[in-house]
């Protein structure tokens, strides 16, 4: 009953050409076709945000996106955030420093959201961080660690730019 289509997609800088079922979600494509299991599925109805990835640099729910929809586009997942040598990037490092994760299940989506936020607003207010995070449910941390992590990165951005 299934129908397939060929897609070309760039994921974390690598190009892929795959035949996919038209009903295959992007989350399942990433996890089970590309074996990028860092993207997690928490609700399959677009609320919890664990599956959030960056699609052409903007956040998207990979559980509500079909793989065929990313044909010709570029996807970044949690596996694509660290430096080439595996060194954690400043946001990832700040998450360690501030205990921004516990079980780590919501973390891939949280990192996607916060990456987008910091790209848009390098020095966000705490309220802006909280509002950005409303699309990501975390049951473990009570959010304070991840908020502190962003504020740490924001301070560093601020110092780098010599502003304020």
């Amino acid at each position: 009953m299934s129908m397939t289509r060929t897609i070309n997609v760039t994921v974390n800088g690598t190009s892929y050409e795959h035949d996919v079922d038209v009903r295959l979600t992007l989350a399942d494509f990433l996890r089970h076709e590309l074996n990028l299991t860092g993207t997690h599925i928490g609700c399959e109805h677009g609320v919890c945000g664990a599956c959030t990835i960056l699609l052409d640099g903007r956040t998207a729910r990979s559980c509500l996106t079909f793989a065929v929809q990313v044909d010709g586009h570029s996807v970044t997942t949690i596996e694509g955030l660290a430096e080439k040598d595996g060194t954690l990037n400043p946001l990832q490092r700040a998450m360690v420093d501030n205990h921004g994760l516990q079980c780590g299940f919501c973390t891939p989506g949280v990192l996607a959201t916060l990456t987008e936020l910091l790209n848009d607003i390098p020095n966000p207010s705490e309220q802006q961080v909280r509002e950005a995070l409303t699309g990501n449910l975390c049951r473990c941390t009570g959010y304070s660690g991840m908020i502190a992590a962003v504020m740490q990165v924001a301070r560093a951005n601020c110092n780098d730019d010599g502003r304020q």
């Binding site: 990028l36 993207t39 109805h45 596996e79 954690l88 919501c106 049951r139």
Partner: protein
């Protein structure tokens, strides 16, 4: 000595992998040829199953099997699931069948399972399995379930009431008869589910050549899983390896052994291919165990100065259709109620009742939040009626630190007399009040009211039995390459178990934390284990690590002493090297010592030496270690919408000596978030037919980043005298008093309207309704 790890803010060893997408959760594990299981579940809350027709499903391409109870092995087919925590008060025990046999008792109960080549096909096929039901009336509300003539969940018992038991001490009737003041409150408390972000997941693989069944499960208790699988599949437990790899949150519901785990394991053995079941969120709402409704009808008797003379009342507990963990929750609730206060007499009549809903089992706090809510609401009532400050009325009733150890007068759920081992409750409250600027609050409140803003403050104290037995184990083994292998039956769903155990081992053995290779939650790595629940792992596994580490240290020193030719007292163990402090300071590495401890082929061991540098310790606590704390919530209520904003949240917390403050603070903050959900948001609703109506995250709300303030947290450390490390549990304390403090704060904010609240969750429509009734919007609208 190197830098001491115990007590330090050591960065978590778990984080780098999880932040890089290299975690390994059950659904991430790929085995060639894996088939996928999707369960066919009851769409009715009470029904007889007349027929299951799977012929169309079986004909679909990619479908390998549809299994019903009739296909299961004898034990699974003919008997119900095992019950782990018996109690003589349970009159009519019921657990469920692995797959329904002739009847279903709640929506979501598993009836059949489709096994197919991919999950999409299995979902399609599950929709093509046709179940013919004879639908029966269902009972939803626990208050209805006790009435005559109500539908019976299990008609063979003749009643829905499964337990009636008192929890009592002192002469409560005499206390009430002579009391100058008696106040009464009827309270409803609802708690929802655990809702870990990772749904349940099971992967099973059976290897005929070795007759070994391997089961990966998103569980808090792999050793218990193995035991259950052994019983249900009629296998020697040595043929079963249960693994809990990275697990994405637990919070209680993942401590339960579920039918799906046994069915998936059987299917893998039966079909001869690995089988995976990945729960979706809707199934989690329907089928993962929850807490739910408790009704507390309570009275308190006090003196003119607010001194408590007695507390009495009743607790009605909704256990759902089955009781896999017995009466743990109502029992804990009843034993938790006295809290940090001196009660001269107490009686609680507990009634546990079946309803046509999924079973209730512990969720973070396990009945304690409800008990604390009941007691703290009574204390606020006393304060209000006698016009005493809420902090002061508590102060007048605290057990004093010099009264420790303090026998409460009850038996706790561990079967031991309920004796608080340590704690300083007056100090705990003073610290929290200080953090919250309590002394200036009345002025701030008056100023806010003058601007038309409604702010309020609420206090809640609690005492929590943590670190329950029976035991946990830790094996430490020095390997010939110098690495330190550690294995524990303790598990990790985000608590940082890997980090805290490693800290203790590094200190005791004298190695670098990065040289520790630790196995968590794998039954192949350590013979016996229990797992995560009851805030028990720091006490049980932590002390096992301490004891095993001390033993291994002794063995290292003895062997090093002989090889270095210096007395043990003159040897330093640091960074995995034994170095003499004297002479020309000879040294030998742990790796070399580990090789020496294996002896030489054909030669006798030195009579003083033990074989291998290793030790396994199983610490078993004598009784619970009692954690305590005080929460002060400051809220602002929007009287237009009923919305509540928590402006400030202060926590004093005593979990004894702290292994890692970074982790403990995270546990507290996360626990408070869960408590905020219970106070204001989380409500698992069922309609009158016991159909769940809040089975998505859009309908059932858990706290978001804008709902949870960053808490001010201070630790009041009174070490437990009951274990070598002096630690107590820390995983649930954040949740336990939160609803009590927040609802008190909302009531305080709306004091000008005279609103009173004795329920949780306190959702906006309830607040608006109370304000409306109080005339806040003018004359009540009919």
């Amino acid at each position: 000595m190197g830098v001491k790890q115990f007590g330090a803010r050591v960065a978590r060893l778990e984080d780098t992998a999880l932040l890089s997408g290299r975690g390994r959760f059950v659904d991430d594990i790929k085995l060639p040829g894996t088939l996928h299981a999707v369960f066919v579940r009851s769409t009715y809350a009470n029904a007889r199953v007349l027929d299951i027709n799977a012929s169309e499903a079986l004909a679909m391409p990619g479908v390998r099997a549809v299994l019903t109870a009739a296909d299961l092995p004898t034990r699974m087919r003919t008997q119900r699931m095992p019950m782990l925590v018996p109690n003589t008060h349970i009159k009519t025990l019921r657990t469920q069948h692995c797959l329904a046999v002739d009847e279903v008792r709640y929506v979501g109960q598993a009836i059949a399972v489709v096994i197919a080549e991919d999950r999409y096909v299995a979902e399609d096929a599950a929709g093509m399995v046709f179940v013919d039901y004879d639908v029966l009336p269902a009972v939803n509300d626990v208050r209805d379930a006790v009435k005559d003539g109500t539908p019976l969940v299990h008609p063979e018992f003749g009643s829905n009431v499964v337990v009636e038991m008192p929890m009592t001490f002192g002469d409560v009737e005499a206390a009430f008869a002579n009391a100058p003041h008696v106040f009464h409150e009827d309270m409803w408390q609802h708690r929802g589910g655990g809702n870990a972000m990772e749904p349940r997941c099971v992967l099973a693989s059976y290897e005929p050549a070795t007759e070994l069944l391997t089961v990966w499960s998103a569980t808090q208790t792999p050793h218990i899983s193995r035991r259950m699988l052994g019983e249900l599949l009629d296998m020697n437990i040595e043929q079963i390896r249960s693994i809990a790899p990275d697990v994405g949150g637990g919070f209680g519901p993942k401590a339960i052994f579920y039918a799906e785990e046994a069915v998936v394991a059987f299917a893998a053995r039966h079909i001869g291919a690995p089988v995976k079941f990945t729960e979706d969120r809707r199934e989690h709402f329907l089928c993962a165990t929850q807490e739910r409704d408790q009704y507390w009808n309570m009275s308190i008797a006090v003196d003119d100065d607010g001194t408590i003379l007695g507390v009495k009342g009743s607790l009605l507990h909704d256990t759902g259709a089955f009781m896999p963990w017995g009466i743990i929750m109502p029992y804990i609730a009843a034993a938790t109620l006295p809290g940090p206060y001196k009660l001269k007499s107490y009686n609680l009549d507990i009634t546990v009742v079946f309803t046509n809903k999924v079973a209730t089992t512990p969720v973070r706090g396990a009945g304690r939040p409800q008990a604390v809510f009941a007691m703290e609401r009574l204390m606020d009532r006393v304060a209000h009626e006698l016009n005493i400050d809420p902090a002061e009325v508590r102060r007048r009733n605290f057990i004093q630190p010099e009264e420790m150890p303090y026998p409460v007068g009850l038996t706790f759920r561990d079967g031991k007399p309920l004796v608080y081992d340590s704690g300083d409750y007056p100090k705990g409250q003073e610290v929290a009040l200080e953090m919250s600027d309590y002394s200036t609050f009345r002025d701030r409140q008056a100023a806010a009211r003058a601007q038309g803003r409604y702010i309020g403050i609420g206090i809640a104290n609690y005492v929590e039995g943590t670190g329950l037995g029976p035991f946990e184990g830790v094996t430490i083994r020095i390997l010939p390459n110098g690495k330190v292998r550690v294995a524990t039956g303790a598990t990790n769903q985000g608590q940082g178990t890997r980090t805290t155990i490693s800290q203790i081992v590094a200190d005791q053995v004298g190695c670098r934390i990065e040289d520790i290779d630790i196995s968590i939650g794998d039954t192949a790595a350590i013979a016996n284990g229990v797992g995560a629940f009851a805030s028990r792992q720091a006490v049980n596994a932590g002390n096992s690590a301490f004891i095993a580490g001390t033993e291994v240290r002794g063995k290292i020193l003895k062997l090093a002493s002989r090889h270095l030719g210096v007395p043990e007292e003159e040897i330093n163990l640091e960074d995995g090297i034994a170095t003499a402090r004297t002479g020309n300071k000879p040294s030998i590495s742990f790796g070399e010592l580990a090789s020496l401890a294996q002896g030489m082929p054909g030669f006798s061991m030195n009579p003083d030496d033990s074989v291998g540098l290793e030790h396994t310790a199983y610490f078993t606590p004598l009784q619970a270690a009692y954690c305590s704390g005080c929460h002060v919530a400051e809220v602002e209520v929007d009287i237009g919408t009923g919305g509540v904003k928590i402006n400030r949240y202060s926590v004093s917390h005593d979990s004894g000596n702290i292994i890692n403050p970074l982790i403990v603070d995270g546990q507290v903050q996360g626990g408070v978030a869960h408590g905020i959900g219970n106070a204001l948001l989380e409500w698992m609703k069922y309609d009158e037919n016991a159909q769940p109506v809040t089975a998505t995250f859009a309908d059932y709300l858990i706290p978001m980043a804008t709902d949870v303030p960053t808490c001010a947290i201070e630790h009041v450390e009174t070490p437990s005298p009951l274990n070598p490390l002096g630690v107590k549990g820390a995983g649930e304390g954040g949740t336990i008093p939160a609803a009590a403090a927040i609802v008190a704060a909302v009531e305080n904010a709306l004091a000008p309207f005279g609103c009173r609240f004795v329920e949780a969750p306190l959702v906006p429509e309830r607040i608006v309704a109370a304000l409306s009734q109080a005339g806040a919007y003018g004359a009540p609208v009919r």
